[in-house]
Symmetry: C2
Subunit: 249 residues, 2 copies
DNA sequence: TAAATTCGTCTATTGATATAGACATCTATA
DNA sequence: TATAGATGTCTATATCAATAGACGAATTTA
């Protein structure tokens, strides 16, 4: 009957610097409510002792989180937790961006960043049940809540069937509304594959992240109720700001 | 109409060393099939140019992946991709470890590592609908497939109702079979919350990971068909070896 | 007002990380 | 068998990461 392992130790020579690991730990502690919002963090010397590192290393971690807007340091007073817990993003058969985030944020929307017509790659063709190289429309979108990027997605639609969906999307700002214009009243999430990795340069720019951050990646297919695929998408979420809630289908 | 951003660039001063970032990229390339199994990677000089770093930095990344058993380097010949793609782990209303992995692996099982009786923490009590401090049984398990750790979970059960489930679990090696002994013929996944973070020291030991790895974390509640919660669990998956497939419910 | 607490800055030192170049060693092939 | 192409090893240097200690500056508390 062993106890739960103490997880507050740090790995050296890992390829991940200590200050980044400690920043991650502080973020996690905030996310699970260990460090409450609008209260002071333990003082730097206490954190240094807790994690077994030098005070300057803790300061590097705090400095990164101040840059990210999570903490605010005040000389003589302390370091305070600013940001709210992670946004809980629903994933389910009827996942739509606009629903499910209600109550968690005051302001949310989707921005259409770019669109293009292109030949379907292998995986897009597979996902949509098209021949490889068939023309598809790609929509690049960013989801924002309270002024922060919470998702960055690329969605592919068959070009023949959904010609002009880019313009509709730009006008409506909603995938659901855009599909409705093409006679799709209802659609379901047919499959979702989920993975995680370190943010690359593109993620950093797209999601306004600091280097070293982690992104959650979902690859999904939406289909009509009778199983006909209509959208293939790859979405990226900043793990430090978003958790995925797998809702009932 | 912008193009897809080239994602092969590297972040410096990020808290994540370049060799670790490149190791991640190579893992990702293998996972999506860019570098096929049992074939040679591009030569070190080519990778160095591709990622814009020194050859020695690429060698550090490769060396780490050789340690992890993903690659094999042969002097004079090349560096070869050994490991298979990520295991696709099903998550759904009727998720059980034994089903769904069929065909992907030849050998799989769950090991009971430890068990204990303890008072319910805040979140466990909430998840199970018990009073805080009520007695619960905790089972610590590891899932293995083809000799590699693919999951590490802690599960909590109400102690009164499931007294002795630890012994049954040790005997059967199956949560489903253990619950059956207590009259639970069927159960459903009531909720799942998913997040990602860097592996800490405990994860490294538990999942046999190299420092710097990423873990996927799910916190879930299983309940009887009529909605009575029976199990609260937190599971950790190595992101480099596992992706989660959200299956229909 | 004085003391204690806390964050901010500075210097110095050590070890890990990254670059650079040269050359050895092994393998496949012309 | 000679050569090209690949990994392996070595030296050297510059920068980043981490530790250590001392002290300054702002705030709260006694």
């Amino acid at each position: 009957m062993i106890g739960r392992p103490a997880a507050d130790r740090i790995e050296r020579r890992s390829g991940v610097s200590l200050w980044r690991q400690i920043a991650d730990k502080i973020l996690h502690a905030i996310a699970i409510g260990d460090f409450a919002e609008n209260t002071a963090l333990p003082p730097e010397v206490a954190l240094a002792e807790r994690y077994g590192v030098n005070r300057h290393t803790v300061r590097s971690a705090i400095s990164a989180l101040v840059q990210e807007g999570v903490l605010r340091a005040e000389q003589g007073r302390g370091t305070f937790v600013l940001s709210r817990k992670r946004l809980s993003y629903p994933i389910g058969a009827r996942t739509r961006f606009s629903t499910g985030l209600q109550g968690q944020t005051s302001e949310r929307h989707i921005v259409l960043l770019a669109s293009s017509v292109e030949p379907a790659s292998q995986r897009v063709a597979e996902g949509l049940g098209l021949a490889r190289g068939a023309e598809v429309i790609r929509l690049e979108t960013r989801g924002e809540a309270d002024g922060r990027a919470v998702s960055r997605a690329a969605g592919w639609f068959e070009a023949r069937r959904f010609a002009g969906i880019d313009a509709v999307m730009a006008e409506t700002g909603s995938i659901t509304a855009s599909l409705a214009r093409f006679g799709i009243d209802d659609y379901l999430r047919q499959s979702t594959v989920l993975s995680a990795r370190h943010a690359d340069a593109a993620d950093l720019a797209d999601l306004d992240l600091q280097p070293g951050a982690i992104v959650l990646v979902t690859v999904a297919v939406n289909a009509t109720p009778d199983g006909q695929p209509i959208q293939f998408s790859e979405s990226r979420f900043p793990a430090e700001r978003v958790e995925l809630r797998l809702s009932a289908l």
